[in-house]
Amino acid sequence: MLINQFLLLGAVLFCLGVYGVIARRNAVMVLMSIELILNAVNINLLAFALMNGTSDGHAFALMIIAIAAAEVGVGLAMVLLVYRNRRSIALDELSEMKG
């Protein structure tokens, strides 16, 4: 297996995630796109761990998984709060801070 197979797959997933963050208007969909990005990074880390024959990449990947879980938890709590106050989770309607 070439290492570039995995790295390019990671790049494709990363870019799809970036596109989702930019294009989506629904806050939950943006959170899903962020999960795509984090997964792409994990694939890269594990490919490099195999290439170098060390276990450091595994430790990093586990930490990223934990951080991603925490991020989704707080993110959804915030989305719920916004929904409760405004009856909508469209991101472009949250414009009170616009000068």
Binding site: G17, I22, R24, H58, M63, V72, L76, A77
Partner: protein
Amino acid sequence: MVAQNIFFGIIATIMVVAAFRVVSVRNVVHAALWLVLVMSGAAALYILLAAEFVGVTQILVYVGAVMVLLLFGTMLTRAQIGAEKDLNHRSWALGIPVAGMLFLAMAVALIGGFEDDQLPENLDRVTVQQISDDLFSPYLVPFMALSFVLVATVIGAIVLARRD
């Protein structure tokens, strides 16, 4: 090694199609279900990369917990089930050149940087014992910080989502 490449091709195709559906589909619940496919494909790739422990953790945490959270979030924040019209921004097309140029830059860097580097074939497996040795000696401080972050997250989520 041919078998591994065939499996990689199948998994990678499924993942790319599913990821594309996640960012293009018009129904939030369907997007979440496509995301399950991406996560499971990633877990399969981790096992292909000889990282069984991370693969199992991926299934437990992502497909199990994160997906349920996302579906909960979807169910709690919207009344209508089914396709939605304005899931995208009005200027959603801006995302295409940004993502395309980002991919172009990364592809040029990767192909120029790693060319035909092979992954080692007869590998020493990374055992779970090694991972735990890593986490509990050189990475002990980040690990503790991570546990602190998780505690803060739990408290923060409760404080944010609580009804007064």
